[in-house]
Symmetry: C2
Subunit: 389 residues, 2 copies
């Protein structure tokens, strides 16, 4: 069977903020015959993934780390390798995922301060500057796109701020809902760690943790005075393995998810070498996001993000139900049209809004018509629920 | 596209001790269209995997835990949930993986003693009894099949011993290279934790950590006085999620590898409900193992396991090269015949032997003819290398 002859089964259109729709060739790669993780046929595939990931992040000097896991495991990597117990971390909280990242850092012994923004917004650069001036933080983390609120953080602005007021601080971007759908210029902006997973903008099934660390982050790791306090997430274990795969020799610590590496290879090949180009891909995500957000506004609906077109992510939109419309009026009616959007996630307001994902093939493969069908269906379902704009 | 019409691409026969050959229907399930991890279509699939895993382990009362990861991550689960820092663990070492498990336990603060057996053998029950009598251990771990040596531990005997001399001790079976290919009667034998991964006897691609904990192990976890010292491997996080999936409601901590859950569902359905039956499956692994080991003896070759047919695993065989034959005389010549066996792994002797995997479809699907082709090819290649039995 060849890639061209594989067509995935008919299914409901998945437009949640991840997992996202996966292209046929990527799913076919995920059905690759069993392969030894140290086979000379497999090693260069892994090496290519490492190299292509650097391209996606504009990070020629970063060290990628790819292991079985999820985005959550990326937090453990930061907590157990970059920080030592007792060291200070500042977590910028723009939703559900800030709280969880803080929990993770504390589990490994970090002392965590948080700047919590009201739901739908993010800490301002002024607030962050004040905090960085008051105390020296080893690590500053932020959620690039908080999947619970759809708020987009100012990665470039935070990079400039850290360079200016606290250049020793390691800047960590949680990119679970942003890598592949938001521009991230890791080197230029001064981002030290990007962590993500495969099931969002990278367009693959879930199951791989994806991380990249700058030279500064690696140097902080190398200066540790105590070993990493995780085993499965230890860079002492993984960095030699990543270097060996990239060098074409391979090495063993724990078995990599070989099929997902093939899937990632297929997807990264499209992202870095296919059409649209990487820059055009980001522009298309912006254009589609603008279209969705304009549609939402024209319908008279509110977004969870305070200023949706300015502060909102480009790969998802969180929309408040209008007066008189409940989750049960909308979500199951869309399912009846073979469309799956996501319910609210932020604990305090989860019944008040729903979330739309617009990433990957749904955005760049116009022939699918996903966005047209999605927006028309939302309009119809709201009308059926008696809502008038 | 339907399951029946999917045929995996032609490829080299993979007969290493994992990853192993994967059936077409399992690979097709791994190419499932994207699916929300909290979809009502997906939740019962996850729930079924939990239920079928109990059948495979003869453990009606155990609590399975399934997360993205590898077998190695199962060690972190034991280290961070069952043990508290400063508590004592005894590691039975029958090869490479005992050393690594001990490293992992120490990373999380356990005090570890080891009983190290010479290469090719395992600690005797008498040695273990002496150690358990001398000191009270919170945890006793053993590698059921050490993938580096092919030595099979006496799981049943160890279970009886612990019940008799140290009934409070939590008995942990590292089943990475045994679950699905070796009989494990978790409840009856008194095994408290079984940990494994999907790419060996369970017949799936790699990427899922699979674990089951007895009521005694869960009780030990619940009696902790300090929280688990891992985040991604924390049972505080995962147990409610597993219970929710089994109850049909679903819950979120970290995104599960949805496609691998579909693949595992396909494979566990074959293992628990297909032909051969589960009991016959284990018998077929014994019969095939005997055939391979007899073949090795008839050729005048030695196994790494001291007494191969008695102490050897039933899903793999580690074979010493005969005098005058090197790895380069055998491994690449088998590759030329489209067969991949594994090189040695145990550091001290890795150039002196090779490893054959005989698990899953290679064993139970006789029509494939994998074993015939493998054994005939080994014979031919050795003859070409000038070896005379």
């Amino acid at each position: 069977m060849s890639t061209q002859s594989f067509k995935q089964a008919p299914h409901k259109l998945l437009v949640i903020p991840g997992p996202i729709e996966v292209a046929d060739d990527v799913l076919f790669a995920n059905a690759h015959p069993a392969m030894s993780h140290v086979s000379p046929d497999f090693i260069p595939v892994f090496g290519d993934c490492i190299r292509m990931l650097r391209e996606v992040l504009f990070a020629p000097n970063a060290q990628p780390v790819l292991t079985a896991g999820s985005g959550t495991l990326g937090w453990d990597h930061v907590a157990a390798n970059v920080l030592q117990p007792g060291e200070d971390a500042l977590v910028l909280n723009s939703g559900y995922f800030g709280d969880s990242f803080a929990d993770c850092l504390e589990t490994y012994g970090a002392k965590v301060d948080q700047i919590k923004a009201p739901i739908g917004s993010k800490p301002s650069l002024d607030e962050v500057e004040a905090a960085l001036t008051k105390k020296k933080y080893k690590v500053l983390t932020f959620t690039h796109v908080d999947t619970s609120t759809g708020v987009l953080s100012d990665a470039k602005g935070l990079g400039e701020l850290v360079k200016r007021v606290s250049p020793e601080t390691i800047l960590v971007l949680d990119g679970v809902c942003s890598v592949g759908s938001e521009e991230i210029r890791m080197d230029e902006w001064g981002i030290d760690v990007v962590l993500t997973a495969t099931q969002k903008g990278l367009g693959c099934p879930p199951g791989l943790m994806v991380l990249a660390a700058s030279k500064k982050a690696i140097a902080a790791f190398e200066k540790r005075t105590v070993p990493p306090n995780s085993y499965f997430a230890s860079w002492s274990r993984w960095l030699p393995v990543m270097k060996a795969y990239e060098a074409g020799t391979g090495a063993y610590f724990a078995t990599p998810p070989t099929n997902l590496i093939y899937a990632l290879h297929a997807s990264l090949t499209t992202i870095t070498k296919g059409s649209p180009s990487l820059e055009e891909r980001f522009q298309q995500h912006v254009a589609t996001s603008d279209r969705v957000k304009d549609f939402v506004s024209q319908l008279g609906l509110q977004q969870l993000a305070a200023d949706g077109k300015k502060d909102g992510a480009h790969g998802m939109t969180a929309v408040r139900y209008p007066q008189g419309v409940k989750a049960t009026d909308l979500l199951p009616k869309l399912v009846a049209k073979n469309i799956v959007v996501a319910a609210g996630l932020h604990k305090q307001v989860k019944d008040e809004y729903f979330r739309i994902g617009h990433m990957g093939v749904t955005v760049v493969d116009k022939q699918r018509g996903d966005i047209d069908y999605l927006l028309n269906s939302i309009k119809e379902v709201l009308a059926e629920a008696g809502y008038k704009p």
